[in-house]
């Protein structure tokens, strides 16, 4: 075959195009092999990229699975607005689950502390939702470069009937052939973004113009300083303590989660380009002492074994 004559060069696909193709392949494989898959949608940038890829994978059809958001009820209001708009804009089926017992007991980060809150409203809530709907596969937007226990996790990560991960007993994963077989009650967590790095994610968002929650962009927002962290006053559940003062500051968020657990950073970066630049350059000052963080990764490994995503 004369390749040049057809306008093809012998050049390889670029990094982003290879990653994109690999992710689409994984997403299609899950959709084809599982009875009842779901895509976990956490509203952040990785979820945004994953969803964008799912739309491409099945175009002109819609993705053949619903989105699931585990709502702790403490997410930023902007996140919830963005979530609902996204589902509507794309015409997708969005499931929202909140742990009903947690809700009844009034579990929250202010009253119960972050670890109880996260366990009950996130980890347990997720397991409930997966069991309740009988999902046999769930997509997650995690990347292998995020933390150490992920570096060894499979693209198709097997979970036993109680959602546990056994790092010593993982299935070998060769080529792009994925073993999708599970017994009743067992499931697979599938990670289409496994081989993306944070820089890849931002490059892709920029080149593909993927919409993001405005909280990533700097704007004037009401914040108080608490425990060395700038906390946004997102609703009336946040009590202003004596000595605290609500300030209007130009801030943005690097990660998005429950607002009482997510610190803002002061910044003027109000475009995607500016954020990327700031994010990449800020790293240099951050390096000392943060090179390795044993405690974080070990505890993540532990959480995962217990069924955390």
């Amino acid at each position: 075959m004369d390749i040049t004559a057809t306008g093809l060069t012998a050049e390889r696909l670029s990094n982003l195009r290879r990653l994109e193709a690999e992710s689409i392949h994984i997403i299609r494989e899950v959709a084809a092999e599982f009875r009842n898959p779901v895509m976990l949608y956490s509203i952040g940038k990785d979820s945004g990229v994953m969803l964008h890829l799912a739309m491409k994978a099945f175009y002109p059809s819609k993705p053949p699975f619903p989105l699931l958001h585990v709502d702790t009820t403490w997410k930023f209001r902007d996140m919830i607005t963005f979530r609902d708009e996204t589902a509507k804009r794309l015409g997708l089926d969005l499931l929202v689950h909140t742990n009903p017992e947690g809700l009844e007991k009034g579990i929250g980060p202010f009253s119960h502390g972050s670890s109880v809150h996260t366990h009950i409203m996130k980890t347990e809530a997720l397991k409930q939702a997966l069991d309740e709907y009988g999902f046999d596969a769930a997509f997650g937007g995690a990347r292998r470069d995020e933390e150490k226990s992920r570096a060894k996790e499979r693209v198709f990560s097997f979970r036993n009937a109680s959602h546990g991960w056994d790092p010593k007993n993982q299935r070998p994963e060769l080529w792009n052939v994925y073993n999708a077989r599970v017994a009743k009650g067992e499931s697979i967590r599938a990670f289409p973004l496994s081989n993306w790095t944070e820089l890849d994610i931002w490059q892709y968002i920029l080149t593909e113009n993927i919409p993001m929650v405005p909280l990533y962009l700097a704007a004037k927002r009401p914040v108080v300083e608490r425990d060395g962290m700038l906390m946004m006053v997102d609703d009336e559940r946040m009590e202003i303590q004596p000595g605290e003062e609500v300030m209007e500051k130009m801030v943005r968020f690097r990660t998005l989660g429950c607002y009482p657990l997510t610190g803002a950073i002061e910044s003027d970066a109000d475009t995607l380009e500016a954020i990327v630049k700031e994010m990449l350059i800020a790293r240099t000052s951050e390096r000392s002492g943060r090179l390795i963080d044993h405690d974080d990764s070990a505890s993540m490994e532990k959480k995962k074994r217990e069924g955390y995503f």
């Binding site: 012998a10 670029s14 990094n15 290879r18 994109e20 299609r28 084809a32 800020a282 240099t284």
Partner: protein, 650 residues
């Protein structure tokens, strides 16, 4: 991320500079490589060094875009780089590496994905896993110890899994005083040993992972070394798109049917490229159609190529489902229910021949059994050993039987369409990984009914019409030259051919014959008989023989059979042949040194009614050979394979 970091970017650098920089990086490509070495060779240190140094380089580049360019202080020598790639808690508790880890780093030119695999023999399965997606392997050795048994094992597994590029990282060179001699010794040992593997590139690099020499930066202590640093080599090594040069293959993953007007077939192109209008075949059914539309992640396209995840629509409504393979109609894959393959066993429970497993090959799932272990391969010595069953981490060459035919290519040609995994039916664990070598029994629709394998059946299975092209003419007339070009042209078209010429036959089959007339007759009779057998086997056979006597050529014609015997007279005048005299034979004959030489003291009887007469005086042999091809085409010897027997022959 640090939540206490309240730094504001106070840069005055133009926004666009950074944006452009980021976007420019979109064009960089990706290299996946595997690192393997034994415990303490310095693998973790090396990977840590690569991750750490490239991050510094990257950040320096970004920082230099800032107005007040910041430079980083030198890295403390005492940072333990190995900690950067520290393993799971479960591993730390046991002090071992149990699994493949994937690491990432990038430079301006490439993004790298590193499969970091443990090196012990009991981790062959992990190494194979890492190797399955890698373009290149970095094999580590300790300069003090040189090549070890495991180096051989690593090279073997890399080669078995289809890796074509290898780097020999001769580490800890600081501990042998940066000795050039020691390096050269190890390098030449390795080159000798690796010559048996078909690696496309092989680069030995002396380095010290611990101190950084020749990893990302050039060493000042090895002035004698003028090859690339490891990073330079990784950035620059040309990884050819092997898959791109192969015929088009698309394993169908998903049938996309949003409405009655659209029916698309989605999958990742495993080989070659495809354009709107190309004719494709569904390999299992043999049905063909043309490409109507190609949808890529970037939108509708006229063309797509290996590696892209596409959706294709066809002009005709034909039955295609997940697991089918769409292929170039002119170049079909094998379809068979029996195959020979290399198998790597990955489970504690041994492989039992005769036991049934689930085979997943691309998007196809089928039941399979290993019918026979032909031999096991000792991964250290490469010796073949007999075996009744296959244990964890062992490799064997096996025959497999499947419950239904599947379409595939040999692994050597295509890592995607030639690979499979085996899954245990009870535990659902992935227990084996296989690389197909060849089909043991072709399964085409026509051949199901064919009870007897006859000449037609054989020719059909090759997708061609058998023929014997009999080139006759004086010594030096150009028979062999033309025949060999014709054979090349036929071969390029995918025809199965063989050439018999005076030289190859005289040295073997007919080495007992001389040049007397009696011997000449017997010579032709034997060659005629062999040509007949080859035609019977379905081949297009080219005979290039002076064959001076009409009667013997007639004999050959009768043996082969009318319609398959094509007499080609290469009509070069004797004067011209004498002038050419490529082997100096005419001169010798005229000097009486050779007896019974055709044209000198033995007659040449020109054909009276040959199928084709070629006159090559003053012509380009290519053009003359093309005349032969034109003749074959005009007389229906080169029909497209599917028309040979009027069915979907493969």
């Amino acid at each position: 991320m640090s939540s206490t970091d309240t730094s504001t970017a106070t840069s005055t650098a133009p926004q666009e500079a950074v944006t452009d920089y980021i976007l420019a990086q979109e064009q960089k490509d990706q290299l996946r490589f595997l690192t393997c070495g034994s415990v303490d060779d310095g693998k973790s240190t090396l990977i840590g060094r690569l991750l750490f140094d490239t991050k510094l380089i990257f950040e320096d580049q970004l920082a230099s875009l800032e107005k007040d360019s910041r430079k980083h202080g030198t890295v403390g020598e005492d940072i333990d780089l190995a900690l950067l790639v520290d393993g799971l808690e479960a591993e730390r508790e046991q002090g071992i590496t149990i699994d493949v880890a994937y690491r990432f780093f990038a430079t301006d030119k490439r993004k790298f994905i590193v499969a970091d695999t443990p090196g012990h023999e009991q981790y062959t399965r992990n190494m194979a896993t890492g190797a399955s997606t890698a373009d290149l392997a970095v094999l580590l050795v300790d300069a003090r110890h040189g090549l070890m048994v495991q180096t051989r094992r690593h090279a073997f597994i890399a080669s078995l899994l289809g890796i074509r590029h290898v780097v020999l990282a001769v580490n800890k060179i600081d501990l042998v005083d940066f000795s050039e001699e020691r390096f050269n010794e190890i390098k030449s040992d390795f080159e000798t040993f690796a010559a048996g593997f078909d690696f496309e590139s092989l680069e030995a690099i002396p380095m010290s992972a611990r101190y950084g020499d020749n990893v990302t930066g050039r060493s000042e202590k090895m002035g004698w070394y003028n090859g690339p640093t490891l990073l330079e080599h990784l950035e620059g090594v040309q990884i050819g798109e092997h898959e791109l040069a192969q015929p088009f293959r698309l394993p169908v993953q998903w049938v996309n049917r949003p409405n009655l007007d659209f029916r698309g077939y989605s999958g990742t192109i495993a080989a070659g490229s495809v354009q709107v209008g190309d004719e494709l075949v569904v390999s299992a059914s043999g049905k063909t159609s043309k490409v109507d539309q190609i949808l890529t992640p970037q939108g509708e396209a006229r063309l797509a190529r290996a590696g892209e995840a596409v959706t294709i629509t066809l002009e005709d409504e034909i039955d295609i489902s997940r697991g089918d393979l769409l292929a170039a109609a002119g170049s079909r894959p094998d379809v068979a229910d029996q195959m020979a393959a290399h198998l790597i066993w990955m489970a504690e429970d041994a492989l039992m021949p005769g036991r049934s497993y689930i085979m997943k090959m691309g998007a196809k799932t089928v039941t399979a059994t290993v019918t026979e272990i032909k031999h096991k391969i000792n991964v250290n010595s490469f010796e073949h050993v007999a075996g009744k069953q296959l244990e964890l981490n062992e490799i064997a060459f096996c025959n497999l039987a499947l419950a239904a035919p599947v379409a595939f290519d040999p692994y050597e040609a295509n890592r995607t369409t030639g690979s499979f995994i085996l899954i245990d039916r009870v535990t659902n664990a992935t227990v084996g990984a296989g690389m197909v070598w060849f089909a043991l029994r072709r399964a085409t629709n026509i051949h199901w009914q064919a009870l007897e394998v006859d000449k037609t059946a054989r020719a059909d299975s090759l997708g061609q019409k058998p023929a014997v092209l009999w080139f006759t003419g004086l010594s030096g007339s150009g028979k062999s030259t033309i025949a060999s070009i014709v054979e090349k042209k036929l071969h390029l078209e995918g025809r199965h051919t063989y050439t018999l010429d005076g030289d190859n036959v005289r040295h073997g089959l007919n080495k007992d014959l001389g040049f007397t007339d009696v011997d000449r007759v017997e010579n032709i009779r034997r060659v005629g008989e062999v040509a007949r057998l080859f035609a019977d086997a379905g081949l297009i056979t080219l005979v290039s023989f002076i064959s001076p006597f009409r009667a013997e050529r007639q004999l050959a014609r009768e043996m082969v059979g009318e319609g398959e015997f094509i007499e080609v007279f290469v009509d070069t005048p004797i004067e011209e042949c004498k002038k050419r005299d490529p082997k100096g034979l005419y001169a010798k004959a005229e000097a009486g040194e050779i007896k019974n030489f055709t044209g000198i003291d033995s007659p040449y009887e020109a054909p009276e009614d040959p199928e084709l007469v070629l006159n090559n005086v003053g012509k380009d042999p290519e053009d003359v050979a093309e005349e032969v091809i034109r003749y074959l085409r005009a007389n229906n010897y080169l029909l497209s394979p599917s028309l040979v027997s009027g069915g979907g022959g493969i």
